[in-house]
Point group: C2
Chain length 218, copies 2
Amino acid sequence: MAKRGKISDAVIRRLPKYYRYLGDLLKNGVNRVSSNELSRLTGFTASQIRQDLNNFGGFGQQGYGYDAKNLRDEIGRIMGIDHKYKVIIVGAGNIGQAVANYAGFYEEGFEVKALFDKNPKLLGLRIRDHEIMDIDELPSYIDEHHIDIGVICTPKEVSQEVADILTSSGIKAIWNFAPTDIKVADDVAIEDVHMNESLYTLAYYYNEKSENQKDDEK
Amino acid sequence: MAKRGKISDAVIRRLPKYYRYLGDLLKNGVNRVSSNELSRLTGFTASQIRQDLNNFGGFGQQGYGYDAKNLRDEIGRIMGIDHKYKVIIVGAGNIGQAVANYAGFYEEGFEVKALFDKNPKLLGLRIRDHEIMDIDELPSYIDEHHIDIGVICTPKEVSQEVADILTSSGIKAIWNFAPTDIKVADDVAIEDVHMNESLYTLAYYYNEKSENQKDDEK
């Protein structure tokens, strides 16, 4: 495949939102959508949207809008969610089990193949048809099953060690739920879901709004 | 309380990371930390860090660094995580149960008081000492128990409706796990954890890196 033109990180992070809204529109029988309509849905400005979509050829026609299906397919292709990924989860506690059970990921082509833990109480338990395996089996499993993505749902104290095992076994994509920043080589993609940080941020804005409210009432 | 000087959103979103690393340092017996050391840990530049921390008075002393405990306490105070929050969860499926079971939130003062669902199979089940209640009881429960934060873990089709019930019952902070953007009034704080978007982004960077790798090998 030819090397793509470089798309900025800011645009990349907006693509999933376009993808999601276009899917909703199609489900509701809407096949054409204007940048103004996308603006109303996403909260981005129409001019921002046109600029973003131009980045990869766009499909808008003046006065006619975008073909929702073509646009969504193209965004899916760019993000690489037009093909399937084999996923394993390390850490089969609450979050690990929740990720394994989340049906939406399967529909989008992210297929959880196995869960790993080192807690003897969890080993052998089945989560959505997958037996929880011993973390010692991780390297051989990855090698045999050509796993694409490793999800880290362990306590933060062991998350770096788990990441090292994953990458030394050939994993090039890590989805990290541990509340810490994992260090990986440049050729490994990593994305964090830092729930604590999101909750702290919510607390901040909650307090800010409530203080403003009190001030307004004075 | 006096109205704080306005801190930019970008700074706010870095505060949880400072807070987390300072906690790790303290746990390891480190009481003084320089902006250079914080830079190494967080990945932000030392000058960025000094600028951020100056925003709220800072505590750095030339050649001596920051007092880790004071700094962490102050950041905690600014974010409002120095006091307790009463939390309810709506949608007691995989994600809702995982959030309810996540011990880290309790330690930080976010106390889950109840879970709600409308699935008759879930009603009456107990999650971490809380019975799952019928969603019809939501408004009266919020009113009686002075709930601060509502967590939405429902399917996206009903998430806006749930948000409307929460806010009309007086909730001013919503933590949304449904893969959709919820609309709320200006005086309501909302934070999303859009796991799908994070996973799509991971897929993008995974593919980008793997294509670059192939190109390099040519």
